[in-house]
Symmetry: C2
Amino acid sequence: MGLVVQKYGGSSVADAEGIKRVAKRIVEAKKNGHQVVVVVSAMGDTTDELIDLAEQVSPMPAGREFDMLLTAGERISMALLAMAIKNLGHEAQSFTGSQAGVITDAVHGKARIIDVTPGRIQQSVDSGNIAIVAGFQGVSQDSKDITTLGRGGSDTTAVALAAALNAEVCEIYTDVDGVFTADPRVVKKARKIDWISFEDMLELASSGSKVLLHRCVEYARRYNIPIHVRSSFSGLQGTWVSNEPQGDQPMEQAIISGVAHDTSEAKVTVVGVPDKPGEAATIFRAIADAEINIDMVVQNVSAASTGLTDISFTLPKTEGRKAVEALERTKARVGFDSLRYDDQIAKISLVGAGMKTNPGVTATFFEALSNAGVNIELISTSEIRISVVTRADDVNEAVRAVHSAFGLDTENDEAVVYGGTGR
Amino acid sequence: MGLVVQKYGGSSVADAEGIKRVAKRIVEAKKNGHQVVVVVSAMGDTTDELIDLAEQVSPMPAGREFDMLLTAGERISMALLAMAIKNLGHEAQSFTGSQAGVITDAVHGKARIIDVTPGRIQQSVDSGNIAIVAGFQGVSQDSKDITTLGRGGSDTTAVALAAALNAEVCEIYTDVDGVFTADPRVVKKARKIDWISFEDMLELASSGSKVLLHRCVEYARRYNIPIHVRSSFSGLQGTWVSNEPQGDQPMEQAIISGVAHDTSEAKVTVVGVPDKPGEAATIFRAIADAEINIDMVVQNVSAASTGLTDISFTLPKTEGRKAVEALERTKARVGFDSLRYDDQIAKISLVGAGMKTNPGVTATFFEALSNAGVNIELISTSEIRISVVTRADDVNEAVRAVHSAFGLDTENDEAVVYGGTGR
């Protein structure tokens, strides 16, 4: 049997009991004959506590020092985990990101992995050890400074190590049983997905599903590393994310993988934009120069009578103020009428590669929303995703209605037949 | 002006306020034109909290992992301190022991420094930064594992860096004003020492004075690095420890530097040892094989009638059980009568290079104890120290009496004249 990379998040190692529980699980994998490399996050609230300390000493902590500070968190959890494993009679060694060969650029707080040179890890597991590696951290290629990878960094560490070590699988242990067809907190009848393709998982991740981050899935797809998302609290099989179904999983992909929602975005509408070349470019250059990532962009045909059009886009609420200020500065140049800012919106997305070949998905989607009395404000589609923007207040109702309409509810495993033509 | 190494202990950086206060002091030194390298310990109780966590996951934590865990403590304090300094408008960079080039052997938990290669630190200060270095930690020469230096490790880091960087002085900031002629908690009239030689400081440190550890003073003496022990809570001059007095300090050394006491030891007496060659060797080989460090050793002349003698020695209380067990195993071979173990003792030591040339010091010492009604159980001397063992209950009374007898009390700066002959 080959090498397995396991990743445990902060909630799985929140206290000494959690660490001991995780240690047992790791030892099981080792006993089953695997070489085991474990990536671990900081314990529970450690990172928040460190951030709080930093805020107490400096309102604007420097990136280099902030990264140095935060990386203390994984140092604690990884050393404790190695101790707990050794206490079960198995050999274990812990390694910092730097020691594990996670080489990054020098962008503190959100460094990108440039290379992984896991010589020490390979040597450690070849000598019979379980190797414990600090997630979320690396060392910059040029300055040799400690860096952190930003949000979801530990998952990315795990996938990157799995790729560099040619692992069989990257197991991501978390506090839920896997990826669900919708957020189980909203949809009680949401179903655990046994297998999902990288492509559908990428769309779900960018549509508000929080189990895996886009970046980690993208990395896994590039190096074709199967991810197994599962609970550290149960022994259940979780969700496999890969190119092809694993083992006895059904070969045929579900038409719809799931319904995602996102209430973290706001909508900006630029009203009365002259419908001529270059106007949209000016607007979005201003947004880009302010380093704001936008999500959906919608422009309708202009009213013939005025020659003016409206352009709407969505973006993280946290960037709202910055975007509005940037646009105000372009007002004279573009000559638009006004700006509207609305942060009481939700985005609901239906994801599934099957929709490419199954007509009527769009119609069923919109009918479900209509029957639930939910108004659609914006629509945007990709090849395997349909997203709409609704009022934030409608989001739970809308997600449940759509989930049910596509036969995703647990009590009804039979897929609905889509009427209508086209999408 | 040259380079200064400053070391701040855990009590000086116990919380965010402490870190900001220390940052201001560091910036002062920089403004005064010094290059500044700062060595910092873990914040307040951090180390104890980490030890507590380790004990929760493993009764016998492995050394390598325990060191990895503990070094998270300085990582936190050093990053926060660098942030606090930058917040005051000065450039600062933090460095782990490994980054600072503190190369050690591989004895986890009490590693010895083999070499210091402070290239990155020199480069950092040459570029105008204040360099903040994690105390107490290094990296092992061969395995590149993280190590810790054991008790007083941060002081040793500071002195070692000062030596490697050719610093003018190593300032050890602590929560007391300096080295005193006796423990101020016991002797209210204890006086701060302005200057003390390395030799006298070494004797004080090995006699129970806790301000500086023997190891750090020994390192400073070897590389002739002046140490300035001072309070991080006041701007006062503290105590200089060096080969020669500094600046306007009196050139002539005090006859007596101070009175130290130690209640951490126990006394073992091997009763009825045959007075023939090899018996003492057998006894102390057994103690050495059990890896126990002993302190005083006393043997009296044997009683002519029996040809038997008694051998007493002192050792840390924590080693008491191990020593007694080791000796019990040699009983048949040595043929001694019995063992006595006594942990209700105190050691009181009078230290001062001046006693070499001033007759009567011993007599004055013993008279002072006698007048205070304190019985002497053991006596041991070095060239510049006299130590006695008394009952633990008598220790405070004894220290005060001796301190007073040698004119060390603050209200009486005049030294006594020693009568009698010899020591």
